[in-house]
Each structure stands twice: as structure tokens, then as C-alpha cells.
């Protein structure tokens, strides 16, 4: 083998190696990452209209903001911030097996607030849903007052799903403009009940 052919051979090897690495880099950087592969499937929702996911159907009837709330069981927990009270009907669609209403999140900017479990049985979060029979009741979110009136609060979203881990399942997403809501002094909220409103 003359030195010339050897040199060409090396150059070709190098080129092939660079080509393989570029293709690998392209695949690596364009393939959906794990977060995308496992992300929940968003279902857009609007106020007053039912939105249906794989095994959850919810209708948000109203959103209100108040400094103090009294729940249907008499609970009146205080907060240094404000309460955002969401009144909704929620039901399972396909099966009631494992249909726990585990995700109720109010997202303001990058910050997530989960529905409070402090009211005990006067809130619908963490309740086992029934197939085709809506459960109507409130969700209580505890927010700092400055967050509730911030610019990001205008584009807040309400996210509802089954289970505390909504990955690879339907996630009902409803935009909420919190800055549009008047802050009421106090709010009496009904106890959850079966049936639609």
C-alpha cells in the first residue's frame, strides 16, 4: 500500500466517522425526550362547557376569589393569601376503577398550586369518581395575594386529571384570568353533591 492510498483511506474513514456522529447527534437532539414522551395529553376546556378526556369529564361552572371561605361542612380555614374557589362537576367516562380525582392544579406562570385538602370532605379533590354520574362541588386553592394579582395570573390555567400523576393520560386544561375576578370578602360554598348543576 502506497502512502498516498493510505492517506486517502484515513481521510475517508474520518469523513465516515464524522457523518455517523452527525447523524447520531441529529437523532439524539431531535428525538422526543422522556418528558415529551411521557407528558400528559392536554384537552382544552372552557368555562361552562364540558371537556372530556380518556376517563374524565369535567365542567367548570364558576371560578371565584375570596379572602375567607366557609365550606359546606363548616370548615373555615384561614389563609394569609386568598382562596380561589372553583365550582365544577366531574365524572369518570369509561370506568370507575382507579378513577380518583387526584390532580387539580392551578398553574400561575411556573408556579403550581394544588387544590387544598384542608377542607376535608367538603372538597371534591381526591374523591373517587363514578362513571357517568357527575359529582358537583368545590376546589379550594390557596394563593399568595400578590401572585393572584400578578400579571401572570391573567394567563393562569386550571389543570384537572385522574390520579396524582397525570403523565400519559388526559389533562383537562382551562385558562383562567384571575386578575378579572373580584376578591370577595367571604364566600359560602356548598357541600359536594352527586348530580349535575
Amino acid at each position: 500500500m502506497s502512502p498516498r492510498t493510505s492517506r486517502w483511506c484515513h481521510a475517508a474513514n474520518g469523513a465516515v466517522l464524522v457523518a455517523i456522529l452527525s447523524v447520531a447527534a441529529l437523532v439524539l437532539h431531535t428525538a422526543p425526550d422522556r418528558d415529551l414522551q411521557q407528558s400528559p395529553i392536554p384537552v382544552p376546556a372552557t368555562l361552562g362547557e364540558p371537556a372530556t378526556g380518556r376517563n374524565i369529564r369535567a365542567t367548570v361552572h364558576s371560578v371565584a376569589m375570596a379572602e375567607s371561605v366557609t365550606a359546606g361542612n363548616g370548615w373555615a380555614g384561614g389563609t394569609p393569601g386568598v382562596w380561589v374557589v372553583v365550582d365544577l362537576s366531574v365524572e369518570a367516562v369509561a370506568t370507575d376503577e382507579g378513577a380518583v380525582f387526584g390532580t387539580a392544579v392551578l398553574r400561575v406562570g411556573d408556579t403550581r398550586f394544588s387544590a387544598s385538602t384542608r377542607p376535608g370532605n367538603a372538597t371534591v379533590v381526591s374523591v373517587r369518581l363514578a362513571t357517568g354520574i357527575p359529582l358537583t362541588g368545590p376546589l379550594f386553592f390557596e394563593l399568595p395575594a400578590d401572585v393572584a394579582s400578578s400579571a401572570e395570573a391573567a394567563t393562569a390555567t386550571l389543570e384537572l386529571a385522574l390520579n396524582s400523576d397525570p403523565r400519559v393520560d388526559s389533562l383537562l386544561v382551562m385558562p383562567v384570568d384571575l386578575t378579572d375576578l373580584p376578591v370577595q370578602e367571604s364566600l359560602d360554598v356548598d357541600f359536594p353533591e352527586w348530580g349535575d348543576r
Binding site: G78, T79, T117, R118, F141, L143, P144, S164, D165
Partner: protein
């Protein structure tokens, strides 16, 4: 004799190479270690690294941790919380540490107690406080319950930016009496990374990032304040 000795033809570079080839590896390694140690002497050498003692806080001071800010206000003894079904066994009483906790992250954090059971909210547990210096109570004992003082609910999920006053409850022998000193240790956990095989963050073991010395009060059968 016509041959010139090869030594004279060597450049300094070849000479160094020759020397290097003849150098025993053990000498080389020892030499490198020696240089390393000598250089390290500039930064303190083989002295023990100073251990930063956890700062000691005063009652009411706010401790800013990685995920939570905690301000401990009081430690007291109480018979029971019957309405919350937190009732100690015969011969035991409850030791309560009151603290205002604020979540500085961007998601809700659930403070875990011993009674959380197998079902836990995803990725939102935080270690917060533990107590030392109590007879018969190992320092690693988690609280039997964490109550929200405002309404007595027993699921402490701390929402971002919303400070909440909590009662951390331990069960202790009733020989523990008013006036005894206890040490409250405020814990901090450090996030290592996002899990590669698991979902959610991976956390290092929590470390004591501040301590607080308190004297136990006694409220007998129990009053709210």
C-alpha cells in the same frame, strides 16, 4: 577511532527523553505525589477540613433552607389532640413543636410524617425538622403527625409562597417534663439531579442546616395557644 560518541549528538530533548526512560516508575509516581502534596500545602495540606457547625438560631428566627423557610416558635407538651385522633398510648404524652413554614419552590410540598402510608403524592415530600435531646426518643424519629394549626387538618401540603403555621407532633414518655431543654434540628435536603430511570428529582440525604435550643412548655390537657 572515527565514531563520534552518540551522547554528544543528542539534543537536550533527546537527553530528557533518555533520562525519562531510565527513571523507575515508582520514583516517578512518588515524585508526582510529593509535588501534589507540596502544592496542596498551599491550600492547607493534610489539615482537617474545618467542619462548619450548623448555626444556632434564636426562637422565632427564620431559617432559609433550600425548599422551605422555617421559623420555630415554641415547643410544648400536651396530653392529646382528640379531635384530630392524635392520642398517645397510655403513659405517653405528645411533644409539639410549633413552626411557621413557607415553601420557596414552585410546586406544592407535602411534609411527610410517619403515618403517610404507602400512597404518597408524587415528588412532593420534604424533610423539615426533627428533635434531639429527648429521653427515649431517637433523633431520627419522624413526627407521628403534622397538623395545620389554623384548622387542625392533618395533611400538611405547603403551597408555594403561602406561609402556614404547623404543629409537628411526637409521642414521648410522660417522664419528659416542663422546663427540660430540647434541640430542634432544621433539615435541608439537596437535589442531586432528575432521575434517569425514575421519575422526579433525586435528593441527597437531608443534613442538619441549623439548630435551635428550646425549653419545653406544658399546656396540660391542652389549650389552643
Amino acid at each position: 577511532m572515527t565514531a563520534t560518541p552518540p551522547k554528544e549528538r543528542r539534543s537536550w530533548r533527546q537527553g530528557a527523553r533518555h533520562l525519562y526512560d531510565r527513571l523507575p516508575t515508582a520514583w516517578l509516581l512518588t515524585g508526582i505525589s510529593g509535588v501534589f502534596l507540596a502544592v496542596s500545602a498551599v491550600f492547607g495540606g493534610l489539615d482537617d477540613a474545618p467542619v462548619q457547625a450548623a448555626p444556632v438560631l434564636e426562637t422565632g428566627d427564620t431559617h432559609v433552607g433550600a425548599e422551605l423557610t422555617i421559623a420555630v416558635s415554641q415547643a410544648l407538651l400536651i396530653d392529646a389532640f382528640p379531635e384530630q385522633l392524635v392520642i398517645p398510648e397510655d403513659g405517653n404524652r405528645l411533644l409539639v413543636v410549633r413552626a411557621v413554614v413557607e415553601n420557596t419552590t414552585t410546586g406544592p410540598l407535602r411534609l411527610s410524617s410517619a403515618s403517610t402510608g404507602p400512597v404518597k403524592l408524587r415528588g412532593i415530600q420534604a424533610d423539615s425538622i426533627r428533635i434531639a435531646g429527648v429521653d427515649g426518643l431517637p433523633v431520627t424519629t419522624p413526627p407521628v403527625s403534622i397538623l395545620v394549626i389554623d384548622d387542625g387538618s392533618d395533611e400538611a401540603v405547603v403551597q408555594p409562597g403561602v406561609p402556614v403555621e404547623l404543629a409537628f407532633v411526637w409521642e414521648v414518655a410522660d417522664t419528659v417534663a416542663e422546663g427540660e431543654p430540647i434541640e430542634v434540628q432544621l433539615m435541608d435536603r439537596v437535589k442531586i439531579s432528575e432521575g434517569e430511570l425514575t421519575y422526579g428529582g433525586l435528593y441527597d440525604d437531608p443534613v442538619v442546616s441549623a439548630t435551635l435550643d428550646l425549653t419545653l412548655d406544658d399546656v396540660g390537657a391542652g389549650v389552643s395557644e
